[in-house]
Symmetry: C2
Subunit: 371 residues, 2 copies
């Protein structure tokens, strides 16, 4: 099996990730922060270590600004719903994933206005497009770091600086870039990450970074193991945003995933693989590669082939895992002109080899010629 | 180590639970429902199997009414916030955990009124107490199945029937009873479960059951891998309520946990252990066991000892894991008269032995006499 669906979730995981999950489940399964005994403490220590390592990765000065969620989607919902309220405007880009689009649009029912900054045909969102939409009611700007369909990277630092000039809060959706592209937390208000993608952690893990001094509304209230006597959530991060039992085994695994990306140069490896894939795809007649592919995500359009059918043949005949159709980002497909048919997506990861890439390109050539 | 903190999270887990988590992470780590390839399908099949087994456990006729959340707290937040809105009244009991209390109280800011049905000194909530609070504005009743502090079981079926008579929606918090006490989904509108407690699954798993025909608001919106072209969440369960990548490895483990409780008679085992613990505790001078302990949860009050100190000695000197203090349920502590000092909680699980129980009782006796 050749796995080229790393933008959905990375596979395989480094062995130490799986071992850490195992170790918590087998040997240290106490509920972290809910009991003072040995088991709980070991578990709690692992979780704090993960906060520290994530803070190190994004150069955040305070590990307590790292909040664990179940996935990037929860992180994004927490960020958006925690900030905007009736009468506010939120600007999102036309390349956003449904995690941003659907949660923002859901806020319309309470009187929030959603404005869409249109990306160009490569999926690039310019600060100028965003600036056109800013009014004195703009509360928040939310932009995807790199497209989950075509890998185009957006100028998030410029967008954040523009927002700061206008006193607007930014959220960057780093689901496709966390662990791959460098990011400096000091430049942003909030950053959302998927633990199971470029951070090489297990399913069931996501992260929201919230900068010092920014106190937002909670999305989920419940037990925190702290200030238990109050019917209100504590004010301090991370407890305020982490009600209920956290995914302790998942976070222990994520900790190892983050240590892995701190140690290895994932981006260099992906760049090398992406370069080769781009060269090969460029020379195949009957397909078009859309976007900029700044990270290893390739959206492929066929002249005369249904992309879902191509993905099926890749899977069944060639043992190659890809993804086809609409990729939970309808506005992005409209921007790219692929809403009716969708795209075939190939996405590389650290554990792919040049041989994987070459076999995938060859398989695509054969599918176009013979199937 | 003797583990008597099973009400916080059960430990150990059956080996097949850990193996299933491992297998997904090692061999089948595709994103379920997000790609058509082999990896994704295996993962998706496991998740559906877990829905089927949970439906079997609670005698629900439709596996699609089983919704996976990150923990019981998310399930409870989804249920409460999905149902009540401005002008509504919600009745909760005074024995509720902070997951219910804090999420209900949080709704006051949008104009929801929270009414508290007072439990008696044993922690029992009578349907009569609830009925006194019902008005034509009552939208929802939320009651804990068994107290997480003293194990008192509430008459949830009668409460639900009372609610149905008044056209009120019920939510039962089964965090402490799922997998232990039998429950018949047909009697209820919504049931919330913690996957990592009596269902013997891993951390990062919870369940909300929503009956056929009850369509509630979403808590989190995002990608569902279905109806991707729409900016609104799909209407059909479970997709409507499961935005973002689910905890596939956790759910595969939970599936094995549920199969374990379907196979074994956890309740009979816990009854036997609880009976012995109750006998032994009853004969120790200087302590009082509160509540009814209908499930294996014992809240212990000392005459002349700080409960946090007792838990520390149990841990450090005797290798016994317990929990002390306030147990994320301040109203329950007020009901029981233990808000100032809290309680020491011992909670049994399937893997405890009579010897564990006897050693714990002996340790408590020694602590009272000598420490």
């Amino acid at each position: 099996m050749i796995y080229l669906d790393n933008a959905a979730t990375t596979f395989p995981k480094p062995p130490e990730v799986i071992n850490a999950v195992n170790d918590i489940l087998t040997n240290h399964g106490g509920n972290p922060g809910r009991g003072g005994h040995f088991f709980s403490r070991i578990c709690g220590d692992k979780i704090f270590e993960c906060r520290e390592n994530m803070a190190k990765l994004i150069k955040a000065d305070n590990p307590e600004n790292i909040i664990f969620t179940k996935n990037a989607t929860e992180a994004i919902n927490l960020a958006i719903k925690g900030v905007v309220s009736r009468g506010d405007e939120i600007i999102i880009s036309s390349m956003e994933h449904n995690s941003v689009l659907r949660s923002a649009v859901n806020m319309e029912k309470i009187g929030v206005t959603v404005k869409i900054a249109k990306a160009d045909l490569s999926g690039y969102v310019s600060p100028q497009e965003i600036e056109l939409l800013i009014t004195d009611k703009t509360k928040m700007i939310c932009v995807i770091h790199a497209s989950n369909i075509v890998g185009t990277v957006n100028p998030i630092k410029e967008i954040s600086h523009l927002a700061r000039k206008h006193n607007i809060i930014t959220l960057i959706d780093c689901a496709q870039t966390g662990g791959i592209l460098p990011i400096n937390a000091a430049d942003f208000d909030m950053l959302a990450f998927a633990g199971h993608k470029g951070l090489y952690g297990p399913f069931g893990t996501g992260i929201l970074y919230i900068r010092n001094g920014l106190n937002i509304d909670t999305l989920i209230e419940g037990g925190t193991g702290s200030f238990s006597e109050s019917a209100l959530m504590p004010l301090s991060s991370p407890d305020r945003y982490e009600a209920g039992t956290v995914n302790a085994c998942g976070i222990a695994g994520l900790n190892e995933g983050i240590k892995f990306v701190l140690r290895e140069n994932v981006y260099e490896k992906e760049k090398e693989l992406s370069k080769r894939l781009k060269e090969l795809l460029f020379n195949i007649k009957g397909i078009h590669v859309l976007g900029k592919n700044d990270v290893g995500v390739f959206g492929i359009l066929f002249d005369n082939k249904d992309c879902v059918e191509a993905a099926r043949i890749l899977d069944e005949k060639y043992g190659i895992a890809s993804r086809a159709g609409l990729h939970c980002a309808p506005m992005a497909h409209r921007t790219l002109g692929t809403i009716s048919k969708g795209l075939l997506r190939l996405s590389v990861g650290y554990f792919n080899t040049i041989e994987d890439i070459e076999r995938a390109a060859l398989a695509l050539e054969k599918i176009i010629l013979y199937n």
